[in-house]
């Protein structure tokens, strides 16, 4: 024990870990903002950055249900659609449109926050309605029932106006002239908050319970875990975040069409999760970024995009079913500790589970 001073590895204490991560996030945001304001990041690329952020939220939220809970919901686009329409209709009905048109974004902020909250809540309610019956089933049945619900949401969005007889979703013609409230900063903050919330959930005892259901549902149930409760919790949480992403999407494009939220969209999100590695947040974030930016760079071969996506799915499952990163999650503090230890030549005795937040990964 006397040797402890020399041989024990350097560890960064807990509050400092969060401090480092927070500083890095703020720094990252400042760098991007400066680049946007100086015009180095053009308007076109600013839009792509916003789409990257939205896809990051979608991928990480699906990762909660697929990677951590171990189920395969195929209706994620449905929740996104619910969030998008809820946010879009709310924003259209408030005076926020005029405020944003005048450039008075600060005054519109409460409305934007309310829209995000409403989207999350309504998508969460839909997640609950769908989740309670769907989660009674397993595997393939769960996949097909969520697919069915996703399609029903789309059919309803397309046809509800004809039935009710008033202008609500505007059917296939599309919901237009939604105020464009999604700025880079708003999306950035949302991505950070979403990833932070997922991280905190997964590190808590509730998160451990969700992981135990993935590993062995029967064993989890037999040690007294309320399996149904945790399955529903993870599913609703995932749906709520998808709703937030949908709301940001509505505020970015300004118009919504039911045909956007087809089964294909759900599969696109699934590809992001599978490629990055089911159960790895960093994997979802990175692959969402790459799979959003890459098609923009490769416009000339855009026709082959979906073929490539589907090939990626099949090849990944056959050759590397855990995804590119597997279950690996990045921790800035762990990396710093390693560097420090290497610098001062201290060999860590046993591998420490890095408990630090990896919000750093939100780039």
């Amino acid at each position: 024990m006397t040797k402890q001073d020399k041989s024990s590895p350097i560890r960064i204490p807990m509050p400092l870990r969060y401090g480092i991560n927070l500083a890095l996030i703020v720094g990252l945001w400042a760098v991007f903002l400066a680049l946007i304001q100086n015009g180095i990041i053009t308007n076109y690329w600013n839009g792509i950055l916003i789409m990257v952020g939205i896809n990051m939220i979608l991928a990480t939220s699906l990762n909660v249900a697929t990677g951590y809970l171990g189920q395969l919901p195929l209706g994620h686009a449905g929740f996104m659609a619910v969030g998008a329409y809820a946010g879009g209709i709310f924003m259209k009905s408030t005076p926020a449109a005029d405020l944003i048109a005048e450039g008075n974004t600060a005054a519109a902020l409460p409305y934007v926050l309310a829209a995000l909250l409403i989207s999350a809540l309504i998508a969460g309610v839909f997640g609950l309605i769908i989740g309670i019956p769907a989660l009674r089933l397993k595997g393939d049945y769960l996949a097909i029932i969520t697919l069915g619900f996703g399609e029903i949401i789309r059919v309803v969005l397309t046809n509800i106006d004809n039935v009710l007889g008033f202008k609500f979703t505007y059917g296939a013609a599309g919901l237009k002239r939604i105020p464009k409230f999604s700025t880079f900063t708003l999306v950035f903050v949302c991505v950070v908050l979403c990833c932070g919330m997922i991280h905190m959930l997964m590190k808590s005892r509730h998160g451990r319970a969700i992981l135990s259901i993935r590993e062995n549902e029967i064993a989890a149930e037999s040690v007294g875990m309320p399996v149904t409760f945790y399955k529903t919790l993870a599913f609703v949480f995932s749906a709520m975040l998808a709703g937030v992403a949908g709301c940001l999407y509505a505020g970015y494009l300004g118009s919504l069409y039911p045909s956007t939220f087809k089964f294909m969209k759900s599969i696109e999100i699934l590809v992001m999760v599978v490629l990055g590695g089911m159960g790895s947040m960093l994997g979802s974030i990175l692959s969402a970024g790459v799979l959003t930016v890459l098609p923009e760079l490769l416009r000339s071969v855009a026709d082959y995009r979906m073929v490539a996506y589907s090939l990626v799915l099949v090849l990944m499952m056959i050759f590397r079913p855990k995804g590119l990163l597997g279950g690996y999650d990045f921790s800035m503090s762990r990396l710093l500790e390693k560097v420090l230890n290497a610098l001062f030549r201290r060999q860590p005795k046993n591998k420490q589970e890095g408990g630090a937040a990896d919000e750093r990964a939100e780039e």
């Binding site: 595997g139 619900f149 399609e151 029967i218 799915l313 499952m317």
Partner: protein, 294 residues
């Protein structure tokens, strides 16, 4: 008298669509029964079969019968090929991986077809014309042929599964894969054979679909496949008579929904039926209850 003839023609329409669903549902049901895989790519095999028949008749001017045989052969070969390339390497993998692979194959076929043949719908002259007048309504020959062919195919399948050695092997593998292997049944052969039979039925289904709606598009298989899957679940997945029953039920249901003027809601209603079935009786009408072992 008018509503009676309307009802009659809607029932015939429903039976015609239902027999296509039933043929496709059989493929789903057999594959699910044997390796517990929801073969998402099954619907897209129909699409490939339809394109084969379409090009054989329009571009190469082959005789319809030759084209039909060609379509069935191509579908069968494709089904077995997909099984060998994509599903066999994953036989011991988790179910989730297998399911994602199936989705991947389905999208690969759809988007591949879109690249090869274009995204537009290709129309052709109807293969079968005319019909029989029955009182005030006309029953088209296409409907009669569809119903007769599918009934023959289903009868042949029942005989195959019940009376032949391969059918016995299929039933054994679906009951207990390990025990069947110990009894000297070749798993690979049996599973490939199941895929071949299922895909051949899908090929027949594709030709019958072309009889009813003489057009082919890259995405025609996905919705048809999903509805056929609903039919298989409704009848009880893994059960052959159940798949037939479910197919006809879904076809008739669609005809009824269209007849009351809600044809835009058709897809929604079919999926609603699926959800109700899964909640009320997840084993379907004729399915067996499976108790899960710890």
């Amino acid at each position: 008298m008018d509503w009676l003839s309307l009802a009659f023609s809607q029932i015939v329409n429903g039976l015609q669509a239902g027999s296509v669903y039933a043929l496709v549902a059989l493929g789903y049901s057999m594959v699910y029964g044997i390796i517990l895989l929801l073969n998402f790519a099954h619907g897209d095999i129909i699409m490939v079969g339809a394109y084969t028949a379409f090009y054989a008749m329009t571009a190469f001017h082959l005789h319809p019968v030759v084209s039909v045989v060609l379509a069935v052969l191509v579908s069968t070969a494709l089904g077995v090929f997909v099984e060998k390339v994509a599903y066999t390497p994953l036989r011991s993998a988790p179910r989730l991986s297998l399911l994602i692979t199936a989705i991947g194959i389905s999208f690969l076929l759809e988007n591949g077809a879109q690249l090869l043949f274009g995204a537009d719908t290709k129309s052709m002259d109807p293969m079968v014309r005319g019909g029989i007048r029955l009182g005030t309504t006309t029953v088209s020959f296409a409907a009669i042929i569809t119903i007769i062919v599918s009934v023959i195919a289903m009868a042949a399948l029942s005989l195959l599964v019940r009376r032949t050695k391969l059918g016995k092997a299929m039933r054994a593998v679906s009951e207990d894969m390990g025990a069947a292997q110990l009894m000297g049944i070749s798993l690979n052969k049996t599973i490939s054979f199941t895929f071949a039979v299922g895909s051949a039925l899908a090929g027949i289904g594709s030709v019958l679909y072309l009889c009813a709606y003489p057009q082919a598009s890259p995405t025609m298989g996905s919705m048809l496949g999903l509805k056929a899957f609903v039919a298989a679940v409704l009848g009880g997945i893994g059960s052959i008579p159940g798949a037939m029953l479910g197919g006809f039920a879904i076809g008739l249901l669609e005809a009824i929904v269209s007849a009351v003027g809600l044809s835009e809601w058709k897809d929604g209603v079919v999926f609603a039926v699926l959800i109700v079935v899964l909640l009320v009786k997840p084993t379907g009408i004729l399915g067996k209850k499976i108790t899960e072992k710890v």
